[in-house]
């Protein structure tokens, strides 16, 4: 079981996202938002697959609505429809997997499954194939939800299409709960199948690395870029999860915390840049260029955040990547760790390129963009709190990470 602490963290993050200045106000939005937080927070408490399915479905339905919330924008509605169709497909997969497992084992309770799968007689049966296949399908569905490749296709579209605050919410909040649930039933109910789902994790991690980083390299739109980079991050996370060791699981949650903080700061930057400019700035990555010239503090902190995400040593992003890498190395998977290093280099490249745009690039053609924005714009109190807290954690968490390591430790203890 995930602890109450984790729940409070979710709501905290949720409230941060809530505080973002949105440019559409309606009471349904907040209602849906709180419902989504409820579904996300309740998900890890489920102890059988029916509950998992119900909470996931609730969450997905709210997300479809949120994605298409900006009714007047055709992009938003398109994103909502796409998300809905692909999400329905994945729900189908999930249900099919659950029913296969029920067919094989006759129960959906995690405890019962655990006890049943410990029985060695079970392995002589054909039921095992059904179990494998069912687990695989559930895996696919969850990877869809956390946007791990090759099921990540929805995420760039949806992030790009829906409103910034909504995609902020999508990017930051649900991953930790979903991964917690996934790891929970993997390491609790399907403990005996670890040889199988470890391989699955490795394969998905490999796909996520390659799809995420290769696509992000030539991506020009900001939100799509962020979606692909989050795919890469998910790759790192599930690579750490593939170790099936206690430290590996702890590092998964530690990575998730740091990833959440980094996303908070970066996404909040995007939202208030969006709100302040005359037209929709920050839809292209190139729009970031020379932010430093306009506002030195803002540019400098953006640079710090980007360095942290890229994994430059004294910052927290490095700590997360390093721990994930260490747990893989401790597990002895040399090939996987080699691939991690390779893709860490590539992912480093495209963040540093953004840093270069922010600070140094004077050769870019659309210099006029610089003058279309207000040279100095005020940032509201809540925005600044969100941004700076994210910045603070993302920069300095490497120095004193004990609190979050402790939380990750407790979450991991609750998994088994």
């Amino acid at each position: 079981m995930l602890t109450v602490i984790a729940l409070s963290i979710f709501s905290l993050i949720g409230s941060y996202a809530y505080l973002q200045k949105n440019y559409f106000f309606s009471f349904e939005y907040f209602f849906l938002f709180i419902l989504a937080v409820f579904s996300i927070a309740g998900l890890p408490y489920c102890f059988d697959f029916i509950g998992v399915y119900l909470f996931l479905e609730l969450q997905s339905l709210i997300f479809y609505t949120l994605a298409s919330f900006n009714r007047t924008s055709s992009f938003s509605t398109e994103a909502g429809v796409k998300y809905f169709i692909i999400g329905a497909f994945s729900s189908g997969l999930l249900l099919f997997g659950i029913s296969l497992i029920y067919g094989a084992c006759g129960s959906l309770n995690f405890e019962v499954l655990r006890v049943l799968l410990f029985d060695s007689n079970f392995y002589n049966n054909y039921h095992i194939i059904l179990c494998f296949f069912g687990l695989f399908l559930i895996f696919c569905s969850f990877c869809f939800k956390i946007s791990a490749a090759p099921f990540h296709f929805w995420s760039p579209e949806v992030y790009e299409g829906s409103a910034s605050s909504v995609s902020f919410f999508f990017a930051v909040v649900p991953k930790i709960s979903l991964l917690g649930t996934l790891l929970h039933f993997c390491s609790f109910a399907f403990f005996e199948f670890s040889f199988f789902w470890e391989v699955l994790f490795i394969i998905f991690a490999f796909f996520s690395f390659s799809f995420g980083s290769f696509s992000a390299v030539c991506q020009k739109k900001t939100k799509k870029f962020l979606a692909f980079s989050s795919v890469t991050h998910v790759g790192f996370i599930i690579a750490a999860a593939s170790t099936h060791s206690f430290s590996g699981m702890t590092n998964v949650f530690f990575y998730l915390f740091i990833y959440s903080f980094l996303s908070i700061s970066f996404w909040s930057f995007i939202t208030f840049l969006n709100a302040q400019c005359f037209f929709n700035r920050s839809s292209f990555l190139a729009d970031f260029f020379l932010v430093n010239k306009q506002n030195f503090l803002l540019g400098g902190s953006l640079g710090l955040v980007l360095f942290s995400i890229a994994g430059i040593p004294p910052l927290s992003g490095f700590g997360a990547k390093f721990f994930s890498f260490i747990s893989v190395v401790e597990n002895g998977s040399i090939f996987l760790s080699f691939i991690i290093v390779l893709f860490a280099v590539i992912s480093c490249f495209y963040y540093l390129r953004v840093v270069k745009w922010v600070f140094f690039d004077t050769s870019y053609a659309n210099k006029g963009m610089l003058y279309q924005c207000k040279p100095f714009f005020s940032i509201s109190f809540f925005e600044s709190i969100t941004f700076t807290s994210g910045l603070f954690f993302s920069c300095f968490l490497f120095i004193a990470p004990h609190f979050f390591i402790l939380i990750s430790h407790r979450i991991t203890l609750a998994l088994f």
Partner: protein, 712 residues
């Protein structure tokens, strides 16, 4: 010069801080102080004395370092004279304390061992900054600090006109510091720090006039060839750690008897541990002490300023290898085979360098080859287990060789940078003081009776004969022949430079003058050292049963050759001296009476072969350059550089990754087309292919078909 005074005050302040600091640190050592009852005042006095002695030990070490820092980093502020004064004064303090401990060790040869603080601790490897002061250390200490002091003084006048004088002085002091680290270390790793440090400073000093291409080449050659020896020494230390599990002298040397007859795998071959490690340590010594095969850097190193040649390449750096051999004597003594190897190498070096020195034309090169030859003597003394005799000769040699080099510097300084002996000549009447000093140095070098070289060199040869082994006899006869050659070329040098009719240009001789006090004073000191040092010190160093080197040098009982050396027949004992004097007379007569016949050497084709062979240094350089240098360079360029480094690693490394990233990113961006059916199709393809992969072991089962059916 207000600035200078201020800096001097700062220096003194730092000096006192230094004393205070080490006094405080010594509180923490918890060294047992002799109990003196309840008399508190006396105890306090005693602890004060102990503190003072600690301060003295550490000021020996760190004053050169301080002087180097001051001259190097603050040379601009303290000025030329200021930096020279500060660093010379630092060396003087260090020298004073060294002599203090050296002389006190005659009365009570105690060794001191300090452990300051940990340096590295990695699993079972503990390395501390520790310092060991014993008799061997004292001897080398006085040699290093005295010669260094005199050379500091000398170079203040010798390169007076060079704009980089503070830098030069700083290098000299830094070199002295590293040398002191080398000889006071209590473990092999710290010793290696000093070892590498002196190599570095040697490079910097040879290359001091860095605009001269010859100096560049010589410096690179020196550090490159030393690197081969360092490689051997480093391997030796690793092997030692592998075998013993520690690098501390105390632990390693007390553990050696248990290692005898044990073997280990070194580079897939099975070796006796003691022999293998001794051989590797000896390779290090070969590099540093310029023994045959790695000697080529030493004669070329004369391209540096002459004080450098005197300090580094005559008195100190080349003794590092010998010091290493003497220090690790408890180890080497257990391997008779390696001792024979050392003897053989040393004797060959002595003969080779002496014969080469016969026909060199460069003034400094003759002296450099004689250094090489004397080092050969010292090394084969170590090879026949007469380490104390070797160290004795080392100390004597440091004095007279430094004297010779400094005299050569004086000559070169006087005559306007002319080094070719054939173009000098006739200086005896013009430079009488330098002439008399160089005569003293040459006679001491040649082993003229009752000068310092006589005592040590003859004892070395006696010990070699007294070993009564084939290696010992071999080295005895080789050494005697080398003694003949040594005195021959010493007199030849004297004759060509000072006695022969003047051969140089008139301009050069017009402005000739004796050098200043700062140059002459070191010559006087060293001349006294060359005359008297051997006589005064011989009883304590090599006297039969002397306990001077009580624990610092270990000689296995079955290798104790001093006794048999003492009771050799007279004609054997007198043979080397006879050879030396014979060499002197023959050289003198040859050059005085038969000068016109010397042309015959070059005209006769057979004799000309010998002339060329010796003059070209037995073709060692040619051999190395053409066999190793050329092939190594071509291999490095064609294979390791262009094929592996620029080829393989570039294609599979940075360039490959960046190119493939571009390719993949473009092709992956086609995947995210924006069409819903593409996405769904790719997901389905993945699920099908993967499920086929999972279920392939069960492919004939009906359930598989059922599943596929459902999926469709």
């Amino acid at each position: 010069m207000v600035v200078e005074k201020k800096s001097v005050v700062v220096f003194y302040k730092s000096l006192f801080c230094f004393f205070y600091f080490f006094g405080q640190m010594s509180e923490r050592f918890k060294v047992p102080v002799l109990k003196t009852g309840k008399n508190n005042i006396l105890r306090k006095f005693e602890s004060c004395f102990v503190r003072l002695s600690y301060s003295m030990f550490f000021s020996i070490l760190f004053f050169p370092f301080l002087g180097s820092l001051f001259a190097g980093f603050f040379g601009r502020f303290v000025g030329r004279k200021g930096s020279v004064f500060l660093s010379t004064f630092s060396i003087f303090i260090s020298c004073f304390f060294s002599w203090f401990f050296f002389i006190s060790s005659f009365y009570s040869p105690i060794s001191f061992h300090f452990v300051l603080f940990p340096w590295m601790s990695v699993s079972s490897l503990f390395i501390y900054w520790g310092f060991l002061f014993d008799s061997l250390t004292y001897v080398i200490l006085i040699v290093v600090t005295s010669v260094s002091l005199l050379v500091h003084l000398y170079s203040s006048s010798y390169i007076e006109n060079d704009p980089h004088l503070p830098r030069f002085i700083s290098y000299l002091s830094l070199f002295t510091f590293f040398m002191l680290i080398l000889i006071t270390a209590d473990n092999f790793i710290q010793m290696f720090v000093g070892w590498e440090g002196v190599g570095l400073c040697s490079f910097l000093l040879i290359n001091f006039w860095f605009t001269r291409i010859q100096a560049n080449k010589a410096a690179i050659k020196a550090i490159f060839i030393n690197r081969i020896g360092d490689y051997g020494l480093a391997l030796g230390i690793f092997a030692l750690y592998l075998a013993v599990g520690s690098v501390d002298y105390a632990i390693v040397f007390s553990y050696v008897p248990f290692l005898v007859q044990n073997s280990f795998y070194f580079f897939i071959f099975n070796f006796d541990i003691v022999s293998c490690v001794s051989l590797l340590i000896f390779i290090g010594a070969v590099g540093k002490s310029a023994q045959l095969s790695l000697h080529t850097w030493l004669p070329d190193a004369i391209e540096g300023p002459t004080p450098v040649s005197a300090l580094i390449h005559a008195a100190t750096i080349v003794t590092a290898g010998v010091f290493l051999l003497a220090r690790s004597s408890p180890f080497i003594e257990y391997s008779s085979f390696i001792l024979n190897v050392i003897t053989f190498f040393g004797a060959s070096t002595a003969l080779f360098a002496a014969t080469t020195g016969l026909l060199q034309n460069d003034l400094k090169k003759v002296i450099a080859y004689s250094t090489c030859s004397q080092l050969g003597y010292i090394v084969f003394a170590c090879g026949v287990s007469a380490y104390h005799v070797g160290v004795f000769h080392l100390a004597n040699h440091a004095f007279f060789k430094a004297l010779l080099f400094l005299c050569a510097g004086s000559v070169i300084h006087a005559i306007g940078d002319e080094q070719d002996m054939r173009k000098i000549g006739g200086l005896a009447k013009l430079l009488p003081f330098t002439y008399s000093s160089i005569v003293i140095g040459s006679l001491a070098l040649g082993g003229f009776p009752f000068l310092s070289g006589f005592y040590s060199k003859d004892i070395i040869l006696e010990n070699a004969y007294g070993a009564f082994s084939s290696a010992g006899h071999f080295s005895f006869f080789i050494g005697s022949v080398a003694a003949f050659c040594t005195s021959f070329y010493s007199i030849r040098l004297l004759y060509l430079t000072f006695l022969s009719p003047a051969n140089g240009f008139k301009k050069r001789f017009e402005n000739i003058h004796e050098s200043s006090f700062a140059i002459s004073f070191p010559l006087v000191c060293l001349a006294f050292g060359s005359i008297f040092f051997g006589f005064f010190i011989k009883d304590s160093f090599i006297g039969l049963g002397s306990s001077f080197f009580n624990q610092s040098i270990f000689i296995a009982p079955f290798h104790l050759n001093s006794f048999s050396g003492e009771f050799l027949p007279s004609h054997i004992k007198l043979f080397p001296s006879f050879m030396a004097i014979f060499g002197m007379f023959s050289s003198f007569l040859l050059f005085n009476l038969f000068r016109s016949e010397l042309v015959f050497f070059k005209l006769n084709p057979y004799l000309r072969f010998f002339y060329t062979f010796f003059n070209k240094k037995w073709f060692f350089d040619k051999f190395y350059v053409e066999i190793f240098g050329q092939s190594g360079l071509s291999f490095a360029f064609q294979h390791t550089y262009s094929l592996i480094d620029r080829g393989f690693f570039e294609i599979f490394g940075p360039f490959g990754i960046s190119n493939s990233t571009q390719f993949f990113s473009i092709s992956f961006s086609f995947l995210s087309s924006g069409h819903l059916y593409h996405y769904l199709f790719s997901i389905l393809i993945f699920i099908f292919s993967f499920s086929f992969f999972i279920l392939s072991p069960f492919s004939f089962s009906p359930i598989f078909f059922v599943l596929i059916f459902f999926m469709m």
